[in-house]
């Protein structure tokens, strides 16, 4: 179909249109990446390379610069936004990343609340209330106040979920959100929270090394891709 023929009635939450990232010796290949994730959509991307995974999510979050093409988030083009608005837009994105980014100088509760404290006008008490509710849903006894390093790996993962789902994000960028060793209850809690978020209109980009991680959740009509040196390739019938 020619350009400008069809005008979609809704805006994709995340749209990569022939975006070519600036190549820095390693990581994401300087190819054209095209992807459109509409509200409520869940896109699965299989990626074995952690660096490529991280760079791709950074590309989606407008952190990785691009040489050509466009990356739009909620209808706004990252390149066209000034720093202040770009930061604010990132406040609408929930992320789970490989390095987690915990700061061990402060308690976990502050690590969880900081993004929302920075971006929203909600009171501290209200944020704590929301965080506690999420923490309970993910199997924590409450909002953890210990230093992140004092928590078990599983509890840190739970805390990561809490942070990602705080503030009802419009887009979730999830890097390997599930490990196969996680207890089934956590797996179910994560998926039910993910489904609830999607029903609210949240778009989800789930990047994982193993497709088996989402095999129990993926539906045939969901978009699936493989991220590698040859770019983002759509996978059908998997």
């Amino acid at each position: 179909m020619s350009q400008g023929v069809s005008q979609p009635d809704y805006t994709p939450v995340l749209e990569l249109r022939e975006a070519v990232p600036i190549f820095d010796e390693e990581g994401l290949s300087p190819l054209k990446y095209t992807l459109a994730v509409e509200p409520g959509d869940c896109v699965f991307i299989e990626s074995r390379d952690d660096l490529q995974t991280a760079q791709f999510t950074n590309l989606c979050a407008g952190i990785l610069p691009i040489g050509s093409g466009k990356v739009r988030c909620m209808g706004l083009e990252w390149q066209a936004l000034d720093e202040r608005r770009a930061h604010a837009l990132r406040g609408r994105i929930g992320r789970i990343s490989e390095d987690s980014g915990w700061i061990d100088l402060y308690g976990m509760h502050l690590n969880i609340l900081w993004p929302r404290l920075h971006h929203s006008r909600s009171s501290y008490a209200k944020l704590v209330e929301e965080a506690v509710a999420l923490a309970l849903r993910f199997g924590l006894p409450g909002l953890p106040t210990q230093l992140p390093e004092r928590l078990s790996a599983l509890d840190r993962k739970r805390a990561e979920y809490v942070r990602a789902f705080m503030g009802r994000p419009s887009l979730l960028l999830l890097e390997n959100p599930l490990s196969l060793a996680a207890p089934k209850e956590l797996y179910n809690a994560f998926l039910s929270e993910l489904t609830a978020a999607r029903e609210r209109g949240c778009a989800v980009v789930w990047i994982g090394a193993e497709r088996s991680a989402w095999s129990g959740y993926a539906q045939p009509n969901m978009q699936k891709f493989r991220l590698g040196d040859n770019g983002l390739i759509e996978v059908r019938g998997v």
Partner: protein, 777 residues
Amino acid sequence: MPTDEIINPAVNMRGRRWQIFQLVGPILGVLLVIGSIMLVTLHTYHTMREGAMSLSRDLLKSQQRYITGEVSRYLSPASGIALTASDLLKTDDIGRNAAAFMALGRSALGNMPQVDSFFLADDRGHFWMSARRGNAYEETTLCHEEGAPYYCHKITDRDGRFLSADSFSAEGYDPRQRLWYKGAVAREHESLDNRLYWTDPYPYLSTHQFIVTASMVFRSPSGHRIVFAISISLNQLTRFVNSLKVGKSGQAVIVDVDGHVIAGHNMTPIGLPGFDASNVHLDPVTQPVFLRALNVFKVRGDGTGVVHARGQNYVTIASAMPIAKRSWVLLLNAPEDDFASFTRVVKRQTVYFSFLIVGLASILALALVYQGRRVEKYQTRLRDEEDKKRQDSAVLLKITNMPGLLDSQQEVPYLCEALVGQASAKRASIWRLLPDGTRLICEDMFNRDQGTHGSGMELTKSAHPGLFACLNDGHYVDIPDASWDSRFESVQRVFMQMIGARRLFVLPVFEEHHPVGLIMLEDSVQLRGVERVIALIASVVAVRLGQAQKAESEEAVPQHLTTPFGGGQSKAPMKVVEGFLVQSHEENKTDLPAVGLYPEVPIMVLEFSEAYSSNRETAKTMLALMSEMSEKIQDISQRTRLFSVQVAGNRFIFLGSCVQSSETDGVLHLADAAILIREACLTVISRMSTRLMFRMGVDVGAILVAHLGKNHNVFNLWGEGLRMAETLAHNAPDGGQIQVSERAYLEMRRHFLFRPRGDFYLPGSGITRSYILAGRR
């Protein structure tokens, strides 16, 4: 989306700030103008007021000098005559002195109306007085007769001639005890300038005059004190002061420092019986301005001032009377308005003028805001138009770079896509006028919502006369709602109804002044600004369609093939069977084709869609419509000598022939019938507003023929050919189209016009290709 965000990234604050500035800036400008005007007005008012006040003070000073001069002149006889008398009367000869005194008195009294009387006394008790009595003069001498003092009066005329004489007792009178005598004696040692003594004003009861007496002492050569006194009436001074005009409504008054009024309005009743002129003071109730001015004078001395009383400002001036009594003060006042009223008028006018300017400035500001908004709007429009032009240029570049753009044999589907994209239309289609001039065949159409191309549909002149009239007219037509336009009503029902379109844009395409086709845009949102693209596409289409028309006309078609229905060449009569739409003839009942497999049978399926309604009225209309169409189908089938027409539900199954060997005539009959049926059905449908539509599929394929029933007289068929025809009918891209299989196409292509539909996969047959039957060559 969170609603508690501190920063909404969707809002560009820079743009918002600029918008706010555009709105607030002019308003601030106006406020600034208003403020400036107010300040300038205020400053001007104060400057003018100060100027007016200064002017009024100068005026009052001038008035004050004038009054002072007048009062000095009024009182000047006192000092002048006293000095003269001091020189004239200081001899030791009393008689001579008295005569000179009397002569001086008559002269002064005759010439100076304000002078009331003269006194002369010495330290030995002598006393003389000169005063008026009626029109004559009374010369009084204090004389003693028999030891008793008497006033001896001698009445004379102006020249001193004796008129009469009389005397009165002066018992107890001693001039040396009089205030004027004592005061003068007290000042004996003062310098000549200050030697004159003034008494306080006092009423002189016999003459009803309010007088003041000035006296001076001097000594005779023998050393005796002689006191000369002169009384001056203040009545005339009061009249003089009252007659003064200070400004419009100002007043003047002479008072002493204790507030006793010497001359002025308070003294108007002077001379009236019972009026005590010596006890008149400034009234704090009626004369607060004078009183305050006097108080100020007491503190500051001479000068001007402004006193606020009775709700307005008064300009005052107070000055001592240097020539008269030094304790006398001249007070003047006048309302400020008398002098500065014009500044108030100017101020009011300035305020009105300011309001006018503010109003104009506000209008200008509003105009500026409005203009700013317009400029912004036009800037946005210009940007949009620039974007549009860039888009147009890209589209035009793409069109011009299309390989085989002007080759009618090569398809260029992008033309319709570009039309849809540029005009934001629901659907765009290019129609070619066939050489007979009575039919338009769709070369290509693009549906935006489905993203699909279609072709092959035919519009006839008989069914759509308005469209053809428009085509021949040559002007483009843009109709907001084609269903309400009698010319395009049928087009809307037959063609546009499929996608629910209403708005229709039709552009006839001409090649060498002959119509060769037209371009249709349905439900286009934006036609403005895309004229360039449409014109270019129309030009390209004109060349392409012109070429196609030329090729068609040059292509020779054998005469025997152009004759519809094969004339009398059909080898077999039409077979009709029980249960079929076309009734069989009794005599032909035995001619039913033999049962078995027929490998190449031309077969067509017509399928009606949207033919059912649960609404009784609609169903009734639908039945009538179907009935009419079935009659026409029946008639056409007989005319075109089809082998059979079978009705099965919402489908009609047509057999062109049913023979074991391959033959072309059956296929051609079937194709002719298909075209006629399509035209007839579209004509019927176009007369009514209905969603009923039909599609047709044609194939040449294998079927099984069977005779069923107890009597083996029920003819029936099924098989691969029927299935293929049904599939083609069901999947025809648009209503009213005839989709033809590749095999049927191969047999019909020399005689009919086709457009390739595309490849598709048919289970059991693999990938096959289909075509849209457009019309006869």
